[in-house]
Amino acid sequence: MARGHYRILVGMAAGVGKTYRMLLEGRQAQEEGRDVVIGYLEPHDRPETAVLADGLQAVPRIHTARGDEMDLDAVIRRAPELALIDELAHTNLNGSPHEKRYEDIEDVLDAGIDVISTVNVQHLESLNDAIFELTGVRVRETFPDRILDEADEVVLVDLSPEELQERLRAGKVYKPERAEVALQNFFRKENLAALRELVLREVAEDVEARRHPDALEPLSQQAVAERILALVEPQPKSQRIMRRAWRSAQRLGAEIDTLWVHPAGYSASEEEATQLAALRRLAGVLGIHFLEADGDDLVETVRRVAADRGSTYIFVGTPDERRRVEILHGSLLSRMVRELPGIDIRVVADRAKRKDAG
């Protein structure tokens, strides 16, 4: 049996109109003669969505004392052509066939039923950390990135932050008392702007990936292959540089080397030896090659190692040079840019120093 077609409507936050759009598309499909059911609709008490849902058949839910859930077996038994299933990141109640709703959806698709579902970007697993940094909210209901990768279509449902706030104030998303609290917290304009940027970027990356679905030719692979070189020293902030390099390597599919440059014959202090041991342990856990090199000239040593290792991307901590040294000898970063042509250089900043950081 052919797997069903999976279409995901993704938005930056609750209230942008994902459910409305899902129902609208369901009605249009029904008007075109397709057999459409509502597998599960989140009860948001929004009049606009209730009106749209009216004309569509809904598969009865499972009612329990702890809440309602989608009746997965009933949806599959009903065997419609298209099922509308809201909020794919939802965690099912204990005792359900699967822990998460996106797993239920997999079964529905495997039964040859097309699915339209909805989700907010903050639930995406790989963005959990970024969402926490941006909003201060740790989202607990997450779904794996592969769900978006495996979907046949990912469609952005967009609204400007101002329009969404207007919808909140008008009581179209939450009841007035809840809307007021929401506007002062998660739905602050700066939060919404950041979330919108994230969702736009995510969908853009998805579009880009779909433009190049097949494996690259070997020559192209060689041309785009990345190898990261992270410059560290026995200091706590080097742990952050290595972790940041590792995260980028995950996205780029790159190998990572980490390099500590020290003068010839340099003997580390006890504290530095502890830091080095910790860095080596982290390198082991992250699968990073730890390199050490003698050299009085940092840039020259990095140039030599980068050439040996085929590095394409260098991660370095924020330089803290004295102005006088910079004037006399030139900025270290300028030298790196000048003397390491063809290599990208990234300065790993301390996020806590961002001016808008809370």
């Binding site: 706590p236 910790a278 301390d350």
Partner: protein, 158 residues
């Protein structure tokens, strides 16, 4: 120029040289416990050392790069580090491996010096907490958040 001159301690962040270890495991660090650990570290002008204890199954070497586990640990470690830095603390985060959480903890404190350990009760079993109290090389606080406070904290992020 040596790379050593690249980094200097940030003057805004003070540290007395004391180190407060906050171990956690299981892909979760209770925000109430983290806030308490930050308060302790601030009061002592200590470096905060959030440490993710990663359990490596017996079939793999202890230093194996287990990508899935690392991917689960990183966001929590980053979040703990960011919270500490925002509070004006020196932060020196760690990932330590072991066959069990207590084995990882033992490996960590045998390799490094800590002046205080703040262990979150959520995330460790009662037996592990007992082991920590018996074997910890330094003063140890076991923090168990007031369930009501924890519930409110969870509601706030739901």
């Amino acid at each position: 120029m040596s790379v050593l001159s690249l980094f200097r301690r940030h003057p805004d962040r003070r540290s007395s040289g004391r180190r407060v270890l906050v171990p956690f495991t299981g892909g979760e660090l209770d925000p109430v416990v983290l806030a308490a650990a930050i308060r302790v570290a601030k009061a002592e002008e200590a470096t905060l050392v959030p440490a993710y204890l990663m359990v490596i199954p017996l079939e793999y070497p202890l230093e194996s790069p287990l990508q899935k586990q690392v991917a689960a640990a990183m966001p929590f470690l980053e979040a703990a580090e960011l919270a500490g830095l925002r509070a004006g603390l020196e932060v020196d985060a760690r990932v330590e491996t072991g066959r069990t959480p207590t084995h990882a903890l033992q490996r960590l404190w045998s390799a490094e010096r800590f002046d205080r350990i703040v262990a979150p009760a959520p995330g460790f079993t009662p037996k592990e907490l007992q082991w920590i109290l018996v074997h910890a090389p330094t003063e140890t606080l076991i923090l168990r958040p007031d369930p009501a406070v924890e519930e409110r904290a969870l509601e706030a992020v739901a």
